[in-house]
Symmetry: C2
Subunit: 246 residues, 2 copies
């Protein structure tokens, strides 16, 4: 079965409180929606819709933020935001700050991002991306009667390999991980434990149709079969004790 | 434009020297092939076709391999293969060996894998996956007159996040990285430097239709637009000095 990944363009600039599902249904051409579709939303549009865009003039940087900003030639208010969004700093070098966010994601700048928002503002991650995904799933169900899965994606770098990829930061209606443990290979032997980060792979697939600065904050993946479960991104977060690189 | 990802089942067990392009053309239903398609092959079928499957009874483990194997309860011959395929060990703990392969990939067990091969054998990565991809691209061109890109994929774990994803280990006819540097965002500001690992995202997209132990070692991605360049996976390998986690 051919997997289909269809971009959903949204021309209007989304503001806090806007109804994203209405915006999707008004998209031209109007997207077809079926049971079992997987909707992938970029983090930025969720943050905008949820009002998670901060006016930098209202951020008061601490001495630590001022110090770090001075070392790296950055805006101390942005550094303060990064610190506020972080549980701990994992690495800091050459102006790159890798931290663990309050949710447990390890990424650059705790997801704080000044691109594609108004000058003087910065977007921060949704406070509970699983809940954001669940809310959208419920709204899609209410408006269309269709049972879909929803994933919130963001663009993260990673160690060892150049380039960023889109990964999941919140899921609803789908497991973030597909576990093959106990499955047999073609030679009848049990596979070594293998779990696939399907939510990340779905996000990566949609990045290919969304690009970076186009008006495409949503994509629909069709013909991907999955178990309809509540799902949570926490299953994808490796604990520190289990991580060879923290 | 909808991106399409179509699996290509191959029922026969591929042996060294078999013609993979013939096997694809004999697949039922016969795959349609168009200019601009991206073919993604799993590493295992390439290794089999290239004879990169090692009879463990012919491997003589060193004292180091015997020591490591004894510590972790592993087969010393498999450990020896891992050491042979590695430039250096990056981490070793709890029976997990993360090494940098001779190509420069950082992954578990240097890509040595006993699943989906005969008992007593282990598959190792192709020696030059870019060249493997280029050879297949040339063969597809010769047999079908179509200009396609070819990517070789493998399944790697990563720090911070649970679950494995499919990533690229060789490319031909496509850049591994798409660089957005200098691109402007929707507010007319230059984006912070952002490069997307499109070859990895293409591999992740195909994993969704290939699963793990089915007879689907090839997928075709259609409607992905890219520049036809020679391409090399080396652009995706982060140097040690540039890596905060090595």
């Amino acid at each position: 079965m051919t997997l289909e990944v269809t971009p959903v363009p949204i021309q209007q600039e989304i503001k806090q409180g806007d109804n994203l599902v209405d915006a999707i249904l008004e998209s031209k051409p109007q997207p077809s929606i079926q049971d079992g579709d997987v909707f992938v939303f970029t983090q930025k549009i969720i943050s905008k819709q949820e009002g998670r865009v901060v006016n930098l003039s209202e951020v008061l940087p601490s001495l630590l933020a001022i110090g770090v900003a001075s070392e790296y030639g950055k805006d101390p208010r942005v550094i303060q935001l990064i610190l506020d969004q972080s549980k701990r700093i994992v690495r800091m070098r050459n102006g790159i700050i890798i931290s663990e966010t309050n949710h447990g994601f390890v990424c650059a700048n705790a997801g704080v991002d000044e691109s594609n928002v108004k000058d003087g503002y910065a977007a921060i991650l949704p406070s509970d991306p699983d809940e954001s995904a669940e809310r959208l799933r419920r709204q899609i169900k209410e408006k269309t009667r269709k049972n879909v899965a929803v994933i919130i994606s963001d663009t993260f770098g990673r160690p060892f390999r150049q380039g960023q990829t889109n990964v999941a930061i919140g899921v609803a209606g789908i497991s973030s991980i597909l576990d093959y443990a106990g499955t047999q290979d073609n030679f009848g032997r049990t596979l070594r434990v293998t779990a696939i980060a399907i939510a990340d792979e779905l996000c990566s697939a949609t990045e290919l149709v969304m690009g970076k600065s186009l008006h495409i904050p949503v994509s629909i993946v069709r013909n991907y079969s999955f178990d309809d479960v509540k799902g949570t991104i926490s299953h994808m977060l490796r604990s520190r004790s289990d991580d060879l690189f923290r």
